[in-house]
Amino acid sequence: MMKSVYVNSAISIEAEPDYRKYFSPMEARRMGRLMKMAVAASSEALEAAGMESTDAIITGTGLGSVECTENFLLGLCGVEGYDMKPTNFMQSTHNTISSLIAIRNKNHGYNSTYAQRGISFESALLDGYTRILLGDSSSVMAGCYEQLTPRYTALLSKIGKDGSVFRDCAVSTIISDREEGAICRLAGVKLLYKPGSVDIPEDALVLECREEASARVFCQAVEKIRKGARKVVIKNDAPGGEVAITILEK
């Protein structure tokens, strides 16, 4: 018997918050902007869900810390003012966000990271959703953190994508098997690649992702249900051919 999955909180950090609430200035100096935003979003999501921690931490990030990757690459290319610092290399790996959150909270639970362009968030959400369905985790923090640099944005505009594959966001959501206090039910997450057509439930309000990160649209969908919508479907038709369908129900 599969369990039901509920959304307990969904937080999108839109502007840089006052970080002193989350960590000391010393800690902050060792973290890039992406990491700081991720820690802030994850802390807010836990607080909104009324939880101290979750059984699993799963992150979606298409590019990870682009800033660190660029700095290391510039060092590799011998550009003056840049060198191949171990911290830049370490933070260039995508899983550094999930593991930092785990290290900060001493969380030994399931920990994973997905990097699938425009559907990185849904990949993380699908993993967490499945773990709850199967009873492998009771609660999951699924997040999407993306922080484009001017340099990377310029690269994307060269190929005419305007950054639409990777969009800035810092979103954390807590999903769990706990109905009490939940905002809505997560009724399904489906990934497809270059499908001919996609079936969308007819009785739902459909939100399509075009200019926005799908994780932020997810937060908007949760808000719509809070305000009375019965069923919301997020259709993320990502530019590379990946498609993700997320279904939320009252």
Partner: protein, 407 residues
């Protein structure tokens, strides 16, 4: 009762060979693929590496890809090993497009191409635009999917050196929850100057061939390669007439939550991952016939992993080896390549050796130098641990059709 998840095909490519036959032959001969840099364009030549012995052009020819196509070495190796796995599993193009989810881990992605033309890429002219499209991890998986004629869905786990193991864990869970029929799970990672310099900046590369678990070990050698397994339920395999070649009996994923680049002295994450894998597979430690250890050759990893193994197995240790001295550390791909080694061991009865090991270390397990096992290898643990404490362990089984073995 949970359905049994069987493996109906697997493929592998690494420094010791392209495909299963070359791989098993090299393991049996004890022949390492670690050598001075030959194919990688890099200024850093001081360290031996485990390169796949082919140029990008040669790999394109093997993968059936046009010579002028912009595709990373990561994708190329992925295509070759995925094709091998699909052929053994008897998957048709239609099976792939309609029923198969591709989960391919990577961390390096298309960095091998980006680093060659990065300064041109960020200049004002319009050079290297094709490279931008294939730079990231997700694009690497999409390229593999396109090259094999399309699949139903794709995603890319990126948990550094445990990416492949985590691909299999997600795949198995998608099947158990009825959200996927067939999953091609694995990973691919090519050598890049970025990666090599990155590990050098952490000062954990050995100037000689690595010696996991040896008292005089100095660090790891980087390697490259790819591996895939085809996962489905036993029922699905039977309905397709596919012959299972192994079974995924259990798996565990835990976070060491200790340090971004170091493992805890007591190996908490590794201990939890192995314990979970055994528990999920309803298997006691005494039933394990062989452990393919993560065993990178760094002083820290090997001591931490040894501590964790001792916590799980006490003083009754099974045969243990790290195969990193054969292939180098293939990072994201290591869990898939070593799963292939475990399946070859289960099939052949030959345990690959921890080649190059000479001196016992009181803080480490004593590994096996390899050889034919007198007993069949029924149950095998395969460890893959990543930076940030992303520790995973897979419990693999020889496929046994005896109904009494049903869990």
């Amino acid at each position: 009762m949970e359905p049994r998840i069987v493996i109906t095909g697997f493929g592998v490519i690494s420094a010791i060979g392209i495909g299963k036959d070359e791989t098993l032959a090299a393991l049996e001969r004890g022949e390492s693929g670690v050598a001075p840099v030959k194919y990688l364009e890099t200024g850093l030549k001081d360290f031996p590496v485990g390169e796949v012995k082919a140029t990008d052009l040669q790999l394109k020819s093997i993968a059936g890809i046009e010579r002028d196509e912009t595709i990373s070495r990561t994708s190329l190796m992925g295509v070759i090993s995925l094709r091998e796995a699909c052929a053994q599993a008897g998957l048709s193009g239609e099976d792939l497009r309609k029923r198969t989810t591709l989960i391919c881990g990577t961390t390096v992605g298309g960095m091998d191409l980006s680093e060659k033309c990065y300064l041109e890429m960020i200049s004002d002219n319009a050079q290297c635009t094709d490279v931008i499209r294939v730079h990231d991890c997700g694009a690497t998986t999409a390229k593999i999917a396109d090259a094999i004629g399309g699949v139903r869905a794709i995603t890319t786990p990126s948990t550094a050196c445990s990416s492949a193991a985590n691909a299999m864990i997600l795949g198995a869970n998608l099947i158990l929850s009825g959200q996927a029929d067939i999953v091609a799970a694995g990973a691919s990672e090519c050598l890049s100057s970025f990666h090599l310099n990155g590990f050098n900046s952490l000062m954990i590369l050995d100037r000689q061939r690595c010696r996991p678990f040896d008292a005089n070990r100095q660090g790891l050698n980087l390697g490259e390669g790819a591996g895939f397994v085809i996962l489905e339920t036993l029922e699905s395999a039977r309905a397709r007439g596919a012959k299972p070649v192994g079974e995924l009996l259990g798996y565990g994923n835990a976070c060491d939550a200790f340090h971004q680049t170091a493992s805890s002295p007591e190996g908490e994450g590794a201990f939890l991952a192995m314990t979970q894998a055994l528990s999920k597979g309803k298997t006691s430690p005494e039933e394990i016939d062989y452990i393919n250890a993560h065993g990178t050759g760094t002083p820290n990893n090997d001591a931490s992993e040894s501590a964790a193994i001792r916590r799980v197995f006490g003083d009754r240790l099974p045969k243990i080896s790290s195969t990193k001295a054969f292939t180098g550390h293939t990072t994201s791909a290591s869990g898939a390549i070593e799963t292939a080694f475990c399946l070859l061991a289960a099939e052949s009865g030959f345990i690959p050796g921890n080649i190059g090991w000479e001196n016992a270390d009181a803080n480490c397990i004593t590994p096996t130098l390899g050889g034919n096992s007198p007993e069949p290898l029924r149950k095998i643990l395969c460890n893959a641990f990543g930076f940030g404490g992303n520790d995973s362990s897979l419990l693999l089984g020889r496929f046994d059709d005896d109904e009494e073995c049903l869990r």
